[in-house]
Symmetry: C2
Subunit: 104 residues, 2 copies
DNA sequence: CAAGTACTTTGATAACTGTAAAACTACTTG
DNA sequence: CAAGTAGTTTTACAGTTATCAAAGTACTTG
C-alpha cells in the first residue's frame, strides 16, 4: 500500500491542505489535542466520551483524520486504539511556521 | 479595536478550527506561502497572477482568510495590499505544535 | 447461544464550499 | 467624458461536509 505523509519527503501543497482541512473542525481539533496529550494509546470510546460525541460521529471524524494521515488506528479485539501521527502533524505545521516561531 | 485573534489571548478551539479550515485549501495554502515570503505588501493582482486564479476567485478566498483573521487588506486607490497576520498564523500553528518541533 | 459492547457503515438531510461567469463599483488615464 | 484597470459582489451549481438515526459487524461475557 502507498504510504502516507512520513516527514521524510516534503508534503505537497495538496497534501498539506488536506491535513489543515482535517484539523479545520472544532471536534477534530479537540480530538487532536486529546491525542497529543497522550503518551500511550487511547480507545475510541474514551475519545468519544472526552470529546462529547457519539461513537458513530467519532468514526466519521476518524476517517477524515486517517485519510489525511494524521491518525493511525490499531484494532485489538473490539476496541480500537488511536495514535497521533506526530510527524505528519509537525510536517504540515512546520511548513507554514515562522523560522523563529516561539518568540514573545 | 482588536476583535480578531491577536496572539495575546489563547484562541479558542472554534477560532483555531476556523484558521485551519481557512488554510485547508490548496489555493489558500499557496496564497499564505506567497504572503509569508513577502517582506513588504503585495497587491491582489500580483497574488492572482502568482497563484493562477482570477481576481474574482481570489476575492472569494480573500474573504475566507480575512474572516479567519489570517489576512489584512489595505486599499489605496484601486489597488488593495494584502498582509499576512503572522501572529494569528503562529498562534494557531503553535497551539498544536510539539514542544521540540524542529527535531530531525 | 443470547445479550451486551465497541465500533462501523449506510442513509438522509441541511448547510456549506470552490469555482465560473457576469454584473457592478470605483479609481485612473487619455 | 470614455475607456481601461483593480477589485468586489452576485448568481448559479455541482460537490462536499457535519450531524443524526438506524442498521450492521464482530468480539466478549454470562
Amino acid at each position: 500500500m502507498s504510504n502516507r505523509l512520513n516527514a521524510e519527503i516534503a508534503p505537497s501543497v495538496e497534501e498539506r491542505a488536506l491535513v489543515f482541512k482535517a484539523i479545520g473542525d472544532p471536534t477534530r481539533v479537540r480530538i487532536i489535542e486529546l491525542l497529543r496529550a497522550q503518551s500511550l494509546e487511547i480507545t475510541g470510546t474514551e475519545i468519544a466520551e472526552n470529546v462529547g460525541v457519539s461513537l458513530a460521529l467519532l468514526c466519521h471524524h476518524s476517517s477524515v483524520l486517517v485519510e489525511a494521515g494524521l491518525v493511525t488506528k490499531r484494532k485489538e479485539g473490539q476496541t480500537s486504539y488511536w495514535m497521533l501521527n506526530r510527524d505528519a502533524l509537525a510536517a504540515a505545521l512546520g511548513s507554514l511556521a515562522e523560522p523563529g516561531s516561539s518568540a514573545h
